[in-house]
Symmetry: C2
Subunit: 409 residues, 2 copies
Amino acid sequence: MTPMFPVLDMPQRLLMGAGPCNVHPRVLRAMACDVIGQMDPEMTGCMDETAELYRQVFRTKNHHTLLIDGSARAAIEAALVSLITPGMNVVVLRIGRFGLLLTEIVTRCGGVVCAVDVPWGEVVPPDRVRDAIVEHRPELLVCVHGDTSTTTAQPLAEIGAVCREHNVLFYVDATATLGGMPFETDAWGIDVATAGLQKCLGGPPGSAPITMSERAVAQIMARRHDEAGIRNPDAPQGAGPVIRSNYFDLAMLINYWSPERINHHTEATSMLYAAREAALIAVEEGMDARWARHARASRAMVAGLLAMDLSVYGDDATRMANVTGVVVPEGCDPIRVRTLMRTEFEIEIVSSFGPLAGKIWRIGAMGVNATKPKVLQTLGAFEAVLAGEGVAVTRGAAVDAARAAWGAE
Amino acid sequence: MTPMFPVLDMPQRLLMGAGPCNVHPRVLRAMACDVIGQMDPEMTGCMDETAELYRQVFRTKNHHTLLIDGSARAAIEAALVSLITPGMNVVVLRIGRFGLLLTEIVTRCGGVVCAVDVPWGEVVPPDRVRDAIVEHRPELLVCVHGDTSTTTAQPLAEIGAVCREHNVLFYVDATATLGGMPFETDAWGIDVATAGLQKCLGGPPGSAPITMSERAVAQIMARRHDEAGIRNPDAPQGAGPVIRSNYFDLAMLINYWSPERINHHTEATSMLYAAREAALIAVEEGMDARWARHARASRAMVAGLLAMDLSVYGDDATRMANVTGVVVPEGCDPIRVRTLMRTEFEIEIVSSFGPLAGKIWRIGAMGVNATKPKVLQTLGAFEAVLAGEGVAVTRGAAVDAARAAWGAE
């Protein structure tokens, strides 16, 4: 018997976890635009505009800025499979779970991982980066900017210079920070950066922006091997080894996004519209203003949590501005608290991974949720739930402290 | 200076090409639902419902039926990279461009391609399949069901039995036919089939359904290697070689879609909603009724084209029911005709690839466009454009013939 399938009716939940977060209403509306053909002039025009918007979001002049049709990790894999040739030494900075994900992907692409580890909650100092490069002579160095598993952001400003000095390509996974914390692709000497829409950019998961420097593109295009069936016999092919993936072949994707427009996959039209709208909203707000808004939301959130006598995880100097870790108080059931937040208040907060699983909650304030009302609502609910669970909290203190910390508009 | 970015304002074009086609309005609305957290019970419930809907669309009892977050070719790559181990012999049936795409992906996954070629427009007879299996002793046989480049559909009903007889896994790319032509995963003995939303399912590109038989799953799970950072130390890992991709690792995706729910990528929530709604619409219509509607639209389209004294490409017995090839008449400029269709009538028709580039137009009628009004509008416009270009056509004949061929409702 055919089961019944009800009309889609998703709850209007406030997503204050580590992402995805709530989508800007303009982005939801953008996805309702009519789909058009993938080589139509309006479509290619939309792709070109989207590339220009993401240049501004990434703070780069990189011509080769485009979208990968998949989640944030799809763009990570596209970058790594296109940059790595089997046997290549790759230095991986690991400050949390997403550093382990980079390890995983580098290994599957055939790279040899040279790991630089720090305890969770800490970041890698520049001299350790230099030492690792000198020791391992890598062709590529990869790291995560903000690792949400530890709510910590790796400082990047000094690493790019070290990489250039040693002729090492520098890849950064900016999934959790792009649009929410200062990120300077060109000024920091980053060769390839990738992200997703579902965190500080206020879009849905499923489209992943990427930007590539000229020196990265030169290396990628040396591996250009257009697929049979659409190859132009006059187009020069690369001498380098074939990229191991077709879907993630950045040489073909660069071509698809260029005036040459050799057909590749069918661009995810509705997600393109979402990505364009999310970037347009960010550019209209201004990247500096957007970063400042996230920082302000973070300060207010931290002030509120401290006013409840809770401990905030990590180091003030390297804490992400968009996800805050809160240490679970002694005797408190962390899963029960999360469930009550969801069922009684329709607010999502999340746990963490590995050594921090069950030890901290993570409360995010990203994109449309990095605002005063969302922070205050979350703190009010959190206080009520913790009080109900027997945690000694001064009622009203968190919201008052956060309002004061937010300051005058 | 910051360039100006206008509000998204896409034309309401009638997409009668080879896909993407127009999206059902219910699917566009479904994407506007609020995003929720990826482990929330409403989210996992939505994933389970979507799996059940695609079982009905694929006509299968396969438990392991899920979505790949990417375009149709993302699902092809997920299937092939998870099934192929480097050095494996893979028989590839090639009836057009998309057979060449399979070759490309098999090769990049490390497989050894054993190609069975036929001239474009023809299909591979079952005895050649058997001969190829006997000759090459492959572990996997792959083919495209409907290759839109030639508007031809490979008959599949007899191939599955041959594969099982020789213990060969059978993969089919059903991107262009699922929901528009009879497709019987279980009855035809298909082990893995993949598709996209943007053709006969009437959704946007960017989400790709896949279904897997138990014997395919056994082979995939023998290669289970959960990523470090989220691996449960008690979970049994496979003895087989690690799958070369993380994003497309079907062992991890099967887990993510199962009650074990080990976290993988962030599911593309809005595209999940689109995929669910598209399948729900198909299941509500009934697969048999939907196939019959596409066949009827095809008959009407062909009748109209023949009434204009045009030649229809390919063989009546193996012609796809959703895309029709029309031979470009002598002396006619095929690009000019396509441009006039778009600019004067807001209707997209497309060219083809390789040996058929510039030789045929392809006119599709898929999903919401496989209806009488869309077929009649297209034929009326096509007649007017061809007449204006000096092709001798009897005015009014195409629409009248198509109306007659459609028959009474």
